[in-house]
């Protein structure tokens, strides 16, 4: 955000006619800002999966980015066998199942183990999913099918873009609102909040920990699957390692917003998405740094406010 404003400022300063220049600025960078908002929404959908799992298990789920990749890959194979209106729900269901099974097989047996073990297990799962994807695809980039309505070209102001650019933020916000309602007003949501506050006490209070954790993974995987449909409409090449970078950025977004906080993750994801695209718009050598900038942002926020924008302050008791 900061950079956007700085540019705005420079544009205002160098030439006197502010108003028309603002228009010019937006005309020039509109497509990048739109792309930023769109990719920000997609990161947000992935980031929620990270932040919810971290909130409950204190686990950086390194495999989450690869679940996202798997959803993309499954879609490619699904559309060759069936029409799209069947393929899309099926892919979402299978992705949710995948998330559920991974939790049961790889994380549940380690519930009493030190936190390091479970994180290593997550890295192992990520390694397995990537290698499996490599084996199935033969390592070649597969092209994501174009989904009719959302990949149509539309014009906004001076920028021509795909409809997904507009759909993503709306859908993201709608899903987040639904999720927040779920967490605030349902029984399972209340259980999730309780577990994330205090794992052991909530167990003593009769909350079925395992079903709550499974529900968390189901929600996270569902959102990652939706995110993958939106993301790969814009970036159509799916390779076995494609999940790593969006996954990492989404995690950074979650940390940025304060890990464990859903609104924080969403805000963080939008900020990262927009900043990244503005840096890309500068062109030339700057494009190299669009990925690195995300991490610079991360380090700055960790230095200034170690628990993120909306994170709760934790105190260590001796």
């Amino acid at each position: 955000m900061a950079i956007k404003w700085r540019f705005h400022f420079i544009a205002m300063n160098t030439k006197p006619k502010g108003d028309s220049l603002t228009m010019e600025f937006f005309g020039k960078y509109l497509s990048y800002i739109l792309a930023g908002i769109s990719v920000g929404g997609q990161y947000a959908l992935i980031a929620i999966g990270y932040t919810m799992v971290y909130g409950i298990l204190r686990l950086i789920n390194f495999a989450h980015g690869d679940i996202f990749m798997c959803a993309g890959l499954m879609m490619i194979y699904a559309v060759t066998a069936m029409p799209l209106y069947l393929a899309a729900p099926l892919v979402i269901v299978i992705t949710v199942l995948l998330g559920f099974v991974i939790e049961r097989v790889a994380y549940k047996p380690l519930r009493t183990a030190p936190r390091m073990s479970i994180m290593i297990s997550a890295i192992g799962v990520s390694y397995l999913l990537q290698n499996l994807a490599f084996y199935i695809t033969g390592g070649l980039a597969k092209t994501y099918p174009s989904i009719p309505w959302i990949s149509d070209k539309i014009q906004i102001g001076t920028a021509i873009t795909k409809r997904v650019t507009v759909v993503t933020p709306i859908l993201t916000v709608a899903l987040v609102v639904a999720l927040v309602l779920l967490i605030k007003h349902t029984k399972i949501g209340m259980a999730m909040r309780a577990v994330s506050k205090d794992f052991e006490t909530s167990q003593l209070m009769g909350i079925k920990i395992n079903s709550v954790i499974s529900a968390t993974f189901i929600v996270g995987s569902f959102l990652a699957a939706v995110g993958s449909i939106l993301y790969f409409t814009n970036y159509t090449g799916v390779t076995p390692t494609i999940g790593a970078m969006p996954g990492l950025k989404a995690f950074v977004a979650a940390v940025f917003g304060g890990i464990g906080s859903i609104p924080g993750a969403v805000v963080g994801a939008f900020i990262i998405g927009i900043c990244e695209n503005i840096i890309k718009s500068l062109g030339g050598t700057w494009t190299n740094f669009s990925d690195a900038f995300t991490f610079v942002l991360l380090i700055v926020i960790l230095m200034a406010k170690p628990t993120g924008l909306f994170g709760e302050k934790q105190t260590d008791k001796v």
Binding site: Y135, G139, A244, L248, V252, D316
Partner: protein
Amino acid sequence: MKESRKNLISILLIAGLFLLLFIMEQTMSPTHMIFTVLKKGAIYALVAVSMNLLNGFTGLFSLGQAGFMLIGAYTYAILTIPTGSKDVVYRYYDCIVNFSLPEAASSVFGEAAGTMVGVILALICAGIAAGFFAWLVGLPVLRLKSDYLAIATLGFAEIIRAVFQWDGLGPVTNGSNLLKHFPTFSSTLFPFAVSAICICIIVLLINSSFGRAFKAIREDEIAAEAMGINLARHKMMAFVTSSFFAGVGGALLAMFQTTVAASQFKAAMTYEILLIVVIGGIGSVTGSVISSFLFIACSEWWLRFLDESKYNILGLDILRGGFRKVVFSVIIMIMVLFYRRGIMGTREFSLDFFTRRMKRKRAAAGKGGRGNA
């Protein structure tokens, strides 16, 4: 067993190992897979032990290893590319590093010895460069705790990778192009010797009072501080030392591969090393060494047959490119889930380990005998 006798036996064993390697090199075909495994295994052993120093002994969960290896690899390559080859390597830039350490040393010590001295100097420089960057990174980052430290170091590794690929640094780092033509090694003895020396230094550090302070920090930071251990200083020391040896490891890796590109030092490389450390046992030096050889042998050599499509099971085309990696990752998952403490746990593989075992067995046999009588 007496201390002096134990040391003598250890030295003899190490000498025997080097002799065995030498004989193998003389008698076997140099392209045999085992040499690739041994070379790469030795390099990974060094990097894994350096990571273990940080994650296992000091309890700082850092994921920046690939970044420091990258710095080491680049420093080594930049300092040792012969001046004659600079134009070929730096095709798109004017190289501003217009000297080469081996050549400079050759003019002093003569051709053969000079190259060796130059290479070793460059290796040390690689370590120092990585250590210096670690110091810079450590200043802000080491204040963070557990997961936040992990993600911040991971972030720094990614930033380092982006900076080294930047066009603006092209005259030094050759942008995103390969660095090549620097001196490499052909004998397996070289990486073994360098790794062995470095690992020995790390072991000496771990067994010193600094090492005990590291372990105290791992067990309980607050208690350690209360005992008078300077947290910031010891954490920084562990971080810089670990990165120094990661840098040397990176330089060795560059020599092994004969080319360097920044794009290969991704987070995936750090994860691989972390898996090696965990499989070997967090907090066990010998565990890391053993597991790195096993890891490399499995991924590069023993499972190789799974990639060949000549064996068909049930008429299905299961065995093809990539199946090896799938089987390998399943093995890793099984290790992680069922052998949580790794091969060695926190124990060390040593002569004492053997003699104690033997004594226990003898004692058990004695007891059994008496029981029967």
